[in-house]
Symmetry: C3
């Protein structure tokens, strides 16, 4: 595979940590999301540390689970830069107030740079890139989906509940959906990366939640279908983003956790991560789109083998079977995914957003209809500044710098 | 691929042979099935032999064709256990009477253990498994589809006309369909394996039958379409079973013979078996679903190459192209397939049967409809004893033992 | 892969060159095709040379671009047979007259052997094959699509504008469509091979044309959709041929150039050729069916990676990803494709033409409808001389020689 020269090389550069975020977020025992409102205070960070996201793909972060980092003393010294320190952001609650009206959406901190006090933008020396980041909340109101934004338009969303191996709850789904809504509303975003705080990508549906639903179904005749449908919708909001989504499957991804990765456009998986849709081994019919995504990626035979046996496969085998674009060492999963995202961000943003819709429609179209749609989309392209730049760059034999309009 | 620890290890255990079956089955010259009724006698077997099905996957049976076994003397001694002896079941005709009303279905011996006299159940020492088996009929009324049942719910159906390389006739199709009807009516069956008596899996449509049809079409203007449609339906009854079907392609599978294997959910093929849809080389448009199954397994390009050239491929190449889950040595095809079937039988039977329907519908659904169907299926799961057991087993970190309800 | 013994072995045989073609064909500056009428004169050729098409797959033609051949002196001596000489056909204009009415179709020389003076049929010694060929026109009226016909029914169409790396214009599309119309009307054609005059297969849409369309869209508000749709239709005429089409991708194939190859049934690609749909890097939405063909060949994930990044891949990687049946050295691309075409030509022509329709319909059908269609197609087969021959050959264990009716 020939990679464009424009690879962003975001990695290995010095960056300052972000300030803590003041946030309040709660969920009831059954995992149903509660509404939180946030009036953030103002935090301070320390300089001289790498960005956390960049770091947890770096070698110095390998093999250290989140849990161990928490317990350990502050080790973010000059001799051991980065991830540990960057992750040990102090959590403040000053100024936070929560109101616990039950509703679907939870207004956790937006990733928008415009939102004062939540975060601070930092320039990555030597790259020309600026990033901004939203990170974890208070102990009382944990934030389970964090985000990071690079100013080439790549946004990283991270399932960030490592003590529970990023197991999925309705509250986490609400946060993810909220972040997706914000991304969808921002015309400057060019690609989204979804990953998990190591060591896992996601262990799948929270076991407490499943037990509660099973108990209510047996004892009360509770019909779980509407709840499940809404549960899927929260997480599969990523499939509706107007830009390409890349899953950086840094560790184990099982059950519904893998399904969310399958909903992305592209996947890079860790060679040793265990991956599978183990529903049939649990006694639960698959959900979260697993029976729809899997046959489309693996073909009908391998999908049947995965689903009927509920077996787990390592990332290298899974990628070989067609589940992912590539498998690389765990430490390289996020860097490699960011590299791919950077290639997409270097393409014409107008075309990429058009393509997202085109590729979603393509399987349902006959050739003739598809050709008519392509002709219409090309007619739009001819009038864009992106194409003018692209043609000029082709004549000059230089890389294009697309304005995105 | 990580295989669950629960692999059934049916192989290598001592088992007694089954008694002969008294059966009457006839077909007319054109291969149209005749109705047979059976009033079976009572046969006796000898102990100390392996089960035939297990055996023809075992090393001691390799390289010995059915034909050679027939001609050879009884060699089932302690020094050479099993397959030869197990296959040399005496055939009795006492008590058999046939009535030859022409009709579609042929009441060959049912596989149900409840049917007296046809067979006897045997316990496989050391495995906890009991098997029952139906085997060949009389010389006058050959049975061309035999069956074997393991009490973990795996049923093996065998195309059993080795002298004719298991070539397909309407009579064989009737037998296969009858066996499938019985399997479909049995809620305790968890998976079905389809294989052929070595050396072939199936040579495809019987050449006599094709010549007869061609002659009638040329000379009498006979429209063969209804006959062919009914011919497909008999064999493709396996595609309508409510449980997963695994094809153990132990040897050559050509033309319609391969199509039947393609109709299964999963395939394991012998590395050296020759596989192909050679219709275009014969001058006959493909049938038996070949033009439907093949593109869905191989993609449009390889399917076109296979069908336009009519070329044959060895099993290793075919599996590499996507025709089968795995290719293994001929002697390992049935054991490996039984291992996979055992993994499926260890999954929740409720979920597996739900999944069969879900995966058949999946290609036709859009994502939204598929999610609604998954939510409904999961709502069913929550009320099942299977899920209660699965959750309890997950908490206890032990394998689940699903009750199947 | 087991190849039939009937491989045609067209290569390495001595053949005479074809006479020049008297032809007039022009296009205006924007690449819009003009109508040409041809009243050809009569040319003469020299004997003792290989056919050009065979040659540019042969070793003696490797590494010599068309451009270098043009510039170089006549080197087609006995010591260096073939390609150089065969390609250095003299171009005559005597007798040609052009009329330049603007219309869609351009009556460039038909490939039909019946058309006097345009070409001369030659027998390939030792093969039993006769070939006829149409080649380049005058300097004033270049022919950009040449053809060659083997008398086993294989027709080779060549994108033949090597100085411009076979970039696609409306005029070239008109020629290709005209050749396809003639092929479609000829019941004796059994397979079509599409290739490009080395070194490229096709560089894609002509840059002048794109710039003109972009300028008109920006300055005049020109709606390019109808033009693009018609542009696709010209080239994708190859997807509507009633016989299999094989693309011999001998060199770089980029953008719309690759799309035309994707529209073929089968592809053989050069290991080192650069292949990709680089539209997003140019700022232009993909056209020419790229967003329809690619996901069907590569699956949704790889197609997304190709289209979003616009990356180029070498032929070996592309074939491994599923873009082509095989990748071979550039010099072997045409020979290997002709070998495959020969295998198809050795199959029953009746069945192959039926299959073309069946495989086009298959993706849209459910299994039951597909089975009904197969039964109807088989009923047709039973009455054919092809099947009678096929069955007789099977009984006699000899290769069939199908009459094609």
């Amino acid at each position: 595979m020939l990679h464009p020269a424009q690879s962003l090389q975001r990695h290995g550069h010095d960056a300052a940590p972000w300030p803590p975020i003041d946030v309040c977020h709660e969920a009831d025992a059954a995992g149903v999301a509660l509404r939180c409102e946030v009036e953030p205070g103002r935090g301070g960070g320390r300089k001289g540390q790498r960005a956390g996201h960049v770091a947890h793909g770096g070698t110095s972060g390998v093999g250290r689970s989140r849990r161990s980092r928490r317990r350990g003393p502050g080790v973010g010294t000059a001799g051991q830069p980065g991830p540990a320190r960057a992750r040990r952001v102090r959590r403040r609650t000053n100024g936070a107030r929560g109101c616990f009206d039950r509703e679907r959406r939870c207004s956790t901190p937006t990733y928008r740079p415009a939102l004062g006090g939540v975060h601070r933008a930092r320039r990555l020396p030597g790259t020309g890139l600026t990033t901004a980041r939203g990170t974890r909340g208070t102990r009382r109101c944990p934030v389970t989906v964090t985000w990071e934004r690079f100013d080439d338009g790549v946004v990283v969303l991270t399932l960030d509940d490592p003590d529970r191996r990023n197991a999925m709850t309705a509250a986490m789904g609400d946060e993810l959906a909220a972040r997706c809504d914000e991304v969808a509303a921002d015309d400057t975003v060019r690609a989204v990366v979804l990953t998990g705080t190591p060591p896992a990508f996601s262990a799948g549906g929270d076991l407490d939640m499943l037990e509660d639903l099973a108990r209510r179904a047996r004892e009360e005749g509770f019909d779980a279908a509407p709840f499940m449908r809404a549960f899927y919708t929260r997480f599969l909001r990523i499939a509706e983003l107007p830009v390409p989504v890349l899953a950086a499957v840094n560790g184990h991804a099982v059950g519904a956790g893998l399904c969310v990765a399958l909903a992305a456009d592209l996947r890079v998986v860790a060679t040793t991560a265990k991956l599978g849709l183990n529903f049939a081994r649990l006694g639960l019919h698959p959900g979260m789109g697993g029976t729809w995504f899997l046959p489309r990626l693996l073909g009908p035979e391998r999908a049947a083998a995965w689903l009927y046996t509920g077996a787990l496969y390592d990332g290298a085998s899974a990628a070989g079977q067609g589940l992912a674009l590539e498998s690389v060492e765990a430490a390289q999963v996020l860097p490699r995914t960011l590299e791919l995202a950077g290639e997409i961000a270097a393409s014409s943003p107008v075309v990429v957003r058009q393509l997202k819709r085109t590729l979603q429609a393509s399987p349902q179209l006959d050739l003739s209809t598809a050709l008519a749609a392509e002709a219409a989309a090309q007619a739009v392209s001819y009038g864009t500044a992106d194409l003018a730049e692209g043609l000029a760059a082709a004549r000059a034999r230089r890389p294009a710098r697309f304005p995105g309009r």
